[in-house]
């Protein structure tokens, strides 16, 4: 009976009832303008009011007050500029009258024209305080009301928000619907057969695809101002700023965007284009712009600059290729050799050696001489059907891979396929292989043909252009470039010739290089590769890795480092189910021992000691000396001159900023700025310095802080790269400043308690690393406790002003829980 009554109540809630808890006092609720759902201003059991919870989780910004509330139906907006972003809105009181006005914090609340008037600008306060709306604006439901309402937890809120992405009309009750909460099947260590393998991975790939599609398609952005340009190939290029391009869209060159004109000055128009440029983390002119090359240039409203919107065109290609690889693996017995088939599935197989004609010299022409562990790796790999090479930071992974490819190609088992998950990695490897004198073709996705790279001349589409053996194709190409299009007969002929030549070039290559997903290109569908090498394979998901593997693998080499960051999986459910584990990692767990490259050539020996001991069983040797990794005449106050590193204790409490949020502590930002400034003053170029900081929010803050508060010219700070650990993976800088910022008592240290991420952060610098953080907080993590203890032992745990650093005597906290 009680249940029935509850049902009754639920059904009868007014439409403006809080979608989380049901509270429906018009004075206490706000509507999200995007989702047209109502939420109350009470926090229930969570750390923010329900409306703020929703706005943050669903990434919404605009709200409306209820018509029956004290203010009537009102969209909250800035009195001056109409900005509706509630995270930027606040109010300022008049100096002597009892009046307040709603203004955005920037620029309206800071405008100088207000200064002389009656407004007290210094009193600007945000509308959202302590993560709920000000109570005088939107009433906070009484405690009694809140107790009486549905007791929704943060976890349930999360689930509900997730559910709304799929079915926007879902209700709280739907959370209990069977199936909704079902987690997908976990990945296994061993599989019965490739059908089971496909059955487990296919749903995960689909989930990731769905998530990706939802994310991308929700990214329509209005108010776009376009800067028109004409490419060398006569194609129209549109440049514009996308406010959310970097963090949320994860825009990549080659992605497709649709630009739509919505003004009245031209007939309705929309055009699709490939992204040829993404915003850069460095700041030079127009660096924030995205560039797209329109597929069809004709008819674009180039006389207009304003009134455009941008939509993301989602493509399922890469996911389709993974699915198809899983299927091929299951049904096509020629997709891989029997040995590799069973090995990949985790079956016990007797080891087999390849009777290879081992070369007399292991180093390849055009490439640096190999060291012992590299020679060992090459030699071993050539005799095995399946090998893993682990390349810790700076150990010459790419040279080793290129050398292996050289020998594989010379053994005449046919063409070698070389892949990596990222285009950058593929390009680097392509360049090295080219140096050995092998015939290399770099196969690019069609959508990326306009993007320049150091190995552009090796790209198939460029080799075709420079082909002299087919004059007719050349002529047609010229015509197409000049006029932009061909007659349909010519176009047909052009395509036919092009396909023929592409095929010839590919057939004649010793080595074909492409991304993992690129290996699913239809132009390779008729190809079989006995030897396949996948670099950075620890950054690919397993299905991604399978795309090249199923092209005939008889000898498979996976290169990577499972002690550095793994693949990025956006869908949390899929990640939890194990999609974020790479094939390399699973094979390691299965007992295949990776061949480890052991000599590092990047870091000053003092910098490599801790990572070596902590992440690589102390096996890392130094191929560079302290002398080679010292910057002569550098006037910098290293606490120990022989040890170019230190931990700089920041003890300043996080401040509550005027936005009402506690984000970055100023102390730490200023410490980072001072270090950077000191380096530059002593002759270091800004692009030699990298600053690693955990979250996007802090990154933006630091960039701003240095520019506005740094003592040197603004332009100088703009050339310092400030980015997340993930953005620095695979790269190096001369000097690294690692700012741990976000760490506070309540929130732990988030990103930096992942050992793999810490490893990457600590192994980027060649000449020096400085960590800035709060030891009290950080030492609660066992791994950080180790690191801090190490710094202390080295007498490089310091505090005080930069020109007078003193050893810190701070007591560490007791580490909480052991590492998993």
């Amino acid at each position: 009976e009680d249940d029935e009554e509850e049902m009754y109540n639920v059904i009868n809630l007014p439409s403006h009832a809080c979608a989380y808890c049901g509270i429906h006092d018009p004075a206490s609720v706000l509507m999200c303008n995007t989702h047209k759902k109502w939420f109350c201003n009470g926090r229930g059991n969570t750390s923010g009011s329900h409306i703020v919870n929703h706005l943050v989780r669903a990434k919404c910004k605009e709200v409306t007050l209820h018509k029956d509330g004290p203010l009537g139906e009102t969209v909250l907006e800035c009195y001056n500029c109409g900005c509706r972003n509630v995270f930027l809105l606040g109010y300022i009181p008049a100096k002597s009258d009892s009046v307040v006005v709603l203004l955005c914090r920037q620029p309206c609340a800071t405008q100088t024209s207000l200064k002389d008037l009656n407004w007290d600008q210094s009193e600007w306060k945000p509308l959202i305080e302590d993560r709920s709306f000000l109570s005088w604006l939107v009433k906070i439901p009484s405690e009694q009301e809140q107790f009486r309402a549905r007791q929704i937890t943060a976890q349930q809120i999360n689930k509900l928000e997730e559910l709304w992405k799929e079915s926007p009309d879902a209700k709280f009750e739907d959370l209990e619907r069977p199936g909704i909460d079902e987690e997908p099947q976990q990945v296994l260590l061993r599989y019965e057969d490739a059908y089971q393998y496909q059955n487990i991975f296919a749903p995960l790939v689909k989930m990731e695809a769905d998530d990706d599609r939802r994310l991308k398609e929700s990214q329509t952005q209005g108010d776009i101002e376009v800067r028109w340009d004409l490419g060398l190939n006569k194609k129209r290029i549109a440049y514009f700023c996308l406010p959310k391009a970097n963090d949320e869209m994860r825009l990549m060159p080659g992605d497709e965007l649709r630009l739509r004109y919505i003004g009245d000055g031209h007939k309705p128009w929309s055009g699709v284009g490939h992204v040829i440029r993404v915003p850069n983390t460095k700041f030079f002119d127009y660096a924030d712009e995205v560039g797209i090359e329109l597929k069809i240039s004709a008819g674009a409203p180039i006389e207009h600059k304003k009134d455009f919107i941008v939509e993301f065109v989602w493509k399922s290609t890469s996911f389709d290729r993974m699915q198809s690889a899983l299927k091929t693996f299951a049904i096509d017995e020629n997709s891989v050799s029997a040995y590799i088939y069973h090995k990949l599935l985790g079956h016990e197989v007797e080891d087999m050696v390849i009777k290879a004609n081992l070369p007399k010299r292991f180093s390849a022409p055009g490439l640096p001489e190999l060291n012992h562990s590299q020679v060992f790796a090459v030699k071993t790999v050539l005799q095995r059907h399946l090998s893993l090479i682990q390349g810790p930071p700076g150990t010459g992974k790419t040279v080793t891979s290129a050398t292996i490819v050289y020998h594989l190609a010379k053994q005449n088992h046919g063409q070698v396929l070389v892949c990596a998950p990222s285009n950058i990695a593929v390009d680097q490897l392509t360049e090295k292989i080219h140096r050995t004198g092998l015939k290399v073709v770099r196969l690019c996705a069609k959508s990326r043909e306009a993007i320049d790279s150091p190995v552009s001349f090796l790209a198939l589409h460029n080799q075709i252009r420079n082909l002299d053996s087919e004059p007719e194709l050349k002529k047609l190409q010229q015509l197409k470039d000049e006029t932009g299009e061909l007659s349909s007969a010519d176009e047909k002929r052009y395509r036919m010739l092009k396909r023929k030549c592409e095929n010839e070039l590919l057939r004649n290559a010793d080595v074909i290089c492409c991304t993992c997903v690129g290996a699913g290109d239809p132009r390779l569908s008729k190809f079989q590769f006995k030897s396949i090498l996948i670099d950075e394979s620890t950054q690919a998901t397993e299905p991604e890795c399978m795309v090249p593997v199923v092209l005939g693998a008889r000898q498979l080499i996976l290169v990577g480092d499972h002690c550095q960051l793994g693949p990025v999986v956006m869908c949390k459910k899929a990640a939890r189910a194990g999609l974020s584990q790479s094939l390399f990692e699973r094979l390691v767990v299965l007992g295949i021992r990776p061949i480890r490259l052991q000599v590092q050539y990047r870091m000053h020996p003092a910098l490599s000691a801790f990572p070596s001991n902590t992440f690589y069983d102390g096996s890392l040797q130094n191929g560079v000396t302290s002398k080679e990794r010292s910057i002569p005449n550098l006037d910098f106050p290293w606490p120990q001159p022989e040890t170019p590193m230190f931990f700089y204790c920041s003890l300043g409490q996080e401040e509550i900023s005027s936005s009402g949020t506690s984000y970055l502590n100023r102390t730490e930002a200023s410490m980072v700025e001072k270090i950077a400034t000191k380096f530059i003053k002593s002759g270091i170029k800004p692009d030699q310095i990298g600053i690693i900081t955990p979250y996007e929010g802090q990154r933006a803050y630091l960039v701003q802080y240095m520019q506005y508060s740094g003592s040197l010219h603004q332009k100088i700070y703009q050339e310092i790269e400030v980015a997340s650990v993930d953005a620095f993976q695979g790269r190096e800088k001369d000097l690294i400043i690692l700012s741990c910022v976000r760490a506070n008592e309540h929130q732990g240290i988030g990103f930096l308690n992942d050992p793999r991420r810490l490893n990457v952060a600590l192994t980027r610098a060649k000449y020096g690393t400085i960590v800035v953080g709060n030891p009290k907080v950080l030492s609660k993590q066992l791994l950080w406790h180790h690191l801090l203890t190490y710094y202390k032992e080295q007498k490089v745990l310091v505090e005080g002003p930069l020109n007078n650093l003193k050893e810190s005597m701070i007591q560490f906290s007791k580490p909480k829980k052991p590492l998993n």
Binding site: P70, L71, Y79, F87, L102, R105, L114, R131
Partner: protein, 125 residues
């Protein structure tokens, strides 16, 4: 209206989702501010004058709040001291129209207490 007192166990440790939410909130705000700084260089500046209408309402007489308090939970602490509020005018835009809205701010709020403090200091002077 029967008064009941509810004993609820205090919130235990923060859940993972809650922590994530707080982090997301912080970075959202920071990002929005950073973004805003980048995009706003030209903005029409309008002089915002304090409306005459508002000047008539004098804030210095705290008034008894009736409507609001009865609806509110009668917490012991709350009952004790804070039955008072200030009246002030909120200026906002509805579409293109300026709107002046009378609002009651309980003296407990930061805004009101600051206002009060300022008034008092002015009196002293």
């Amino acid at each position: 209206d029967s008064k009941i007192k509810i004993h609820q166990s205090k919130k235990e440790t923060l859940s993972k989702e809650d922590e994530e939410f707080m982090q997301a909130f912080d970075s959202l705000v920071t990002e929005n501010i950073a973004q805003r700084t980048k995009e706003t260089n030209r903005m029409p500046t309008v002089d915002i004058s304090v409306p005459m209408l508002a000047r008539k309402v004098k804030p210095n007489q705290p008034m008894e709040l009736t409507g609001l308090t009865t609806k509110r939970a009668e917490n012991d602490d709350e009952k004790e001291s804070k039955k008072q509020s200030f009246n002030f005018v909120l200026m906002l835009k509805k579409g293109n129209k300026t709107q002046y809205q009378n609002m009651e701010v309980p003296v407990t709020s930061e805004f009101a207490s600051q206002f009060k403090a300022r008034e008092e200091s002015e009196k002293v002077e």
